[in-house]
């Protein structure tokens, strides 16, 4: 009788082993446990894994097809590009759709895409785009000037037949970038003319310095009008564009599958047969999946793991260029930070380098101005508030606070690429301020109320950041510091007429050199007023297996995978 029971157990065990043995190549990996004995190093414990394992498994697919698995932390919100501001969504739509223009691989330099050429009128009120001929959408219909017109009118006009307003579609990015919607005073796109099948003209009501930058954004690509007609409001789950990959399937919170578009307008591209975007929420689990070769690219590597990945054979570390700013802002209209000397004192008291080192493992640059260094008009001559507690103390005394003071420091409750660990940053700042005699009380709020209350000006001093989307300085400087945006994205409540005037001029000019000089002047004025302490520009890190070739991460976080391929071993 006892035998019977042990037989059952044996069967169960055998079953598990059979399952395990079915792995094929992975199972025979004998040397892994041998070198797993030095977990005491400061690098990640898994870094000593043998990486041959990872390479065997990747690039291996059903029938020698090139299938790339891209793993990320969260799912996309919508695959209708203009109706979302979510980066995880544009990561996908970047592959399926194309805009009239596109950004260079690793910068915000403008290149032709669906439009092979363009003309700008001298007064900046008319832009003419000459479109590629013979381009088809994934559904087989032709791409032409009419399609461009329909798409732009769809976003601008809530009454448009494809606007789907009743189904909850809002094109907020369009409103932000083009000054509002049809009928609004500041909406710049007055009229769109189809000159001929492959020429389209945009008439503007006022010049917009970054109009071409906008045309290259992943948020404004061209959808097939036939697909809009066919799918209606379900277009967000059935994207049809002209891009290198066409949409196959989406299982929510799990994976999105794309496959090669055979009729892509550029011969020989894309090189991959299929791309699968997987959601793996846990950062540690994602890294394990990369090491075991189950995925090829992982987004969102912890900066602390970067050193381990870099030294590990079989894995490659990639950095995105700086495209953001993490900062501490003051409410300049409220006690006590309406006092400029006090703002200076705090600016000198904060040790930016320590923050960059402690939190980003060196993958960040201390910041002087809100604008990332690669941007047009970046002013590297702005006098920086170097870390100097002695000077800070003097300034504090000058400001009339010899005996110190007590303030509230609002701390972001969520991690962002520009601020991966807000709590620790807050503590560093708290210590820095304590050194000069300021007691900072850390205030915690949930994310949504945090954003709301800082918008309402309930804070004295707070932490936040900003990420670029169209590579234009306006998106940073105007959004954060223009007087018109007080009570909206300007949470400093900072309004300086001179700065506003410079920003307005820069926005209206189409001469890029002139614009750059306006922005440089504005940065100097802003630095002098010190409405915020720019902390760091971070460089988000990600990892791939060594088999992944030609992968160039773009600062905007969405890059085309058309040229990526997997090396076969």
């Amino acid at each position: 009788m006892k035998l019977k029971y042990s037989l059952l157990v044996a069967l169960m065990l055998a079953f598990v082993l059979v399952l395990a043995a079915c792995t094929g190549d992975g199972g025979q990996n004998g040397d892994a446990p041998e070198d797993g004995e030095d977990p005491g190093t400061e690098e990640d414990t898994g870094a000593d894994d043998d990486a041959g394992d990872a390479e065997d498994a990747s690039a291996e697919a059903a029938d020698g097809e090139q299938v790339l698995i891209f793993a990320r932390g969260g799912d996309s919100e919508s695959l209708d590009p203009a109706s979302t501001t979510d980066g995880e969504s544009s990561r996908i739509t970047r592959q399926v759709y194309e805009s009239l223009l596109e950004f260079d691989k690793d910068s915000f330099e403008i290149l032709p895409s669906l439009a092979h050429d363009w003309e700008v009128a001298d007064d900046g009120l008319s832009y003419t785009f000459y479109l590629e001929e013979g381009v088809t959408f994934h559904d087989g219909t032709d791409f032409n000037a009419e399609a461009v017109k329909i798409n732009f009118e769809r976003w601008a006009d809530p009454e448009h037949e494809f606007a789907f307003t009743d189904d909850g579609y809002v094109y907020s990015m369009y409103g932000t970038m083009f000054g509002g919607f049809k009928g609004d005073d500041n909406h710049v796109v007055e009229e769109i003319n189809v000159v001929d099948d492959y020429t389209v003209e945009f008439k503007l009501s006022q010049p917009l310095g970054f109009f071409l930058q906008n045309m290259a954004m992943t948020y404004f690509p061209i959808t097939s009008p036939a697909a809009l007609e066919e799918h209606g409001p379900a277009i967000n789950e059935n994207p049809v564009g002209t891009g290198p990959f066409k949409f196959v399937s989406w299982s929510k919170d799990d994976s999105i599958v794309l496959e090669k578009f055979e009729d892509y307008r550029i011969d020989g591209l894309p090189k991959l047969d299929r791309v699968v975007f997987e959601v793996i929420p846990d950062n540690a689990a994602r890294l394990i999946a990369l090491r075991s070769g189950e995925i090829d690219i992982m987004d969102g590597l912890n900066p602390d793991d970067a050193a381990g990945v870099e030294s590990e054979e079989g894995l490659e570390l990639h950095e995105r260029a700086e495209n953001n700013i993490g900062y501490v802002g003051f409410n300049v209209q409220k006690e006590p930070f309406d006092n400029k000397e006090l703002r200076y004192a705090v600016s000198h008291a904060i040790d930016k380098q320590a923050i960059a080192d402690a939190l980003y493992a060196g993958y960040a640059t201390p910041a002087n101005v809100p604008l990332p260094p690669s941007y047009m008009g970046y002013n590297d001559e702005v006098e920086s508030f170097e870390y100097d507690p002695e000077k800070a103390k003097e300034l504090l005394a000058e400001a009339g606070y010899e005996d110190g003071l007590e303030i509230d420091l609002w701390t972001m409750p969520v991690a962002r690429p520009y601020m991966p660990d807000p709590e620790t940053v807050a503590q560093i700042i708290q210590n820095n301020l304590a050194e000069i005699g300021i007691t900072a009380n850390i205030v915690r709020e949930e994310w949504a109320p945090y954003l709301e209350k800082t918008m309402n000006g309930e804070h004295q001093m707070y932490m936040l950041g900003w990420s670029g989307t169209n590579g234009d300085p306006d998106y940073f400087l105007s959004s954060l510091l223009h007087g018109d945006n007080v009570g909206s994205s300007n949470r400093e409540f900072y309004a300086n007429d001179e700065v506003d005037e410079l920003l307005n001029q820069a926005k209206l000019s189409v001469d890029q050199d002139e614009r750059a000089s306006f922005y440089q002047q504005a940065q100097e004025l802003i630095a002098d007023d010190a409405p915020m302490v720019p902390l760091v520009h971070s460089r988000p890190v990600l990892a791939t297996t060594s088999a992944v070739q030609n992968y160039v991460p773009h600062p905007s976080t969405s890059e085309s995978l058309a040229e990526v391929e997997l090396a076969n071993e």
Binding site: D53, A61, T165, G168, G175, V276, S489
Partner: protein, 333 residues
């Protein structure tokens, strides 16, 4: 018995109405407005107002609740604010994913747990008993996320035996029919895929099943010990039945009732509470569906998701009660 089931089903109605009220109020008590969360820090005031309006968030709460219940009565779980998709259709793959995982986790938990409990009771105070109960104690107290990460590290990264994440090989995805992937692969007669899918189930099932396994083992042991002391067992022994028969046929049946209660409760808990396991193993289950919705303040999804979980929980309890009756005909309702 039949009328009992009908009565129990009728009792579901006030329970579910209560659930809608509670979830609706809790959801709207969470500070923060969904439009703000969806648009993030780069949102302008006007963008937020536009989105609020299009989502119907500026209606009074009573109106919002009324609309919600009205749709519910027509079998419509509402529309997700985030994906704009119908929740009734969107939710099924998540439920299937969680059911499949829970099923295998509970098989693991029951098979090991019940047997370990029986042997512990049988060989009370032996080294096996001691070890099994020690492991049960560790199992109950071990954090799931830690166990899950250790499993991934050892069996996926170092040994490469089992995959670290997901339900299937994403290089070669399945064409889902029922969304129970084991079942789907069998329907397709694709047995290589069945093996793949089962392999994906091993690590998460163990992670998820460990706590219920430990609880079941302890419950089985104490329940068995009690039954083994009763008179009828002595009678059966006196008749000359073998030890195996005494335990598995006569004793186990009577010891099962409390164990069954625990199994029922644990199954319910796993269905709704697998969120940690689901997150670490990237398992697109119902727990993560609701969790993501909370992050986005996706009110309809939170409400309907919790409602569905509660509904399943109540149903499982009903099944357990019916099983009592089958196992022990003396029980009367």
């Amino acid at each position: 018995m039949f009328s009992y089931i009908i009565r129990r089903l009728l009792m579901l109605i006030p329970v579910l109405v209560g659930m809608t009220l509670i979830t609706f109020s809790i959801v709207h008590l969470i500070p923060g407005n969904p439009a703000q969360v969806i648009l993030g820090e780069t949102a302008t005031q006007t963008a937020i107002e536009d989105l609020e309006e299009s989502m119907g968030l500026n209606e009074p709460y009573v109106v919002q609740y009324g609309l919600y219940v009205k749709d519910l009565l027509q079998g419509d779980l509402g529309t997700s604010l985030r994906s704009k998709a119908d929740i009734s259709t969107e939710i099924w793959p998540y439920i299937a994913a969680t059911f499949e995982l829970t099923f295998f986790a509970m098989i693991f938990a029951i098979f090991i747990g019940v047997n370990a409990g029986i042997i512990s009771a049988w060989k009370q105070n032996s080294w096996f008993d001691f070890l099994a109960m020690l492991f049960a104690l560790i199992g109950v107290s071990m954090p799931v996320f830690w166990l899950a990460l250790m499993e991934q590290w050892i069996f996926a990264q170092e040994l490469g035996w089992f995959p670290a994440y997901g339900r299937e090989d994403s290089r070669d995805p399945i064409a889902p029919i029922t969304y129970f992937y084991v079942l789907d692969s069998l329907i397709h007669l694709d047995f290589a895929r069945t093996v793949t899918v089962l392999k994906h189930l091993v690590l998460p099932s163990i992670a998820l099943g460990t706590i219920p396994m430990a609880i079941i083992a302890r419950m089985t042991r104490s329940s068995m010990l009690e039954v083994m002391k009763s008179d009828y067992i002595r009678t059966v022994r006196a008749k000359g039945s073998g030890q195996f028969l005494v335990i598995y046929k006569h004793a186990l049946k009577n010891a099962t009732i409390p164990v069954l209660t625990v199994i029922g409760l644990q199954t319910g808990v796993l269905l709704g509470g697998a969120i940690l396991t689901e997150t670490i193993f990237s398992w697109p289950g119902i727990g993560r569906y609701v969790f993501e919705a909370i992050n986005y303040r996706d009110y309809p999804v939170i409400q309907s998701g919790i409602l569905v979980i509660a509904f399943i929980f109540v149903l499982i309890n009903l099944v357990v009660d019916v099983l009592y009756k089958i196992i022990d005909p003396r029980i009367n309702y």
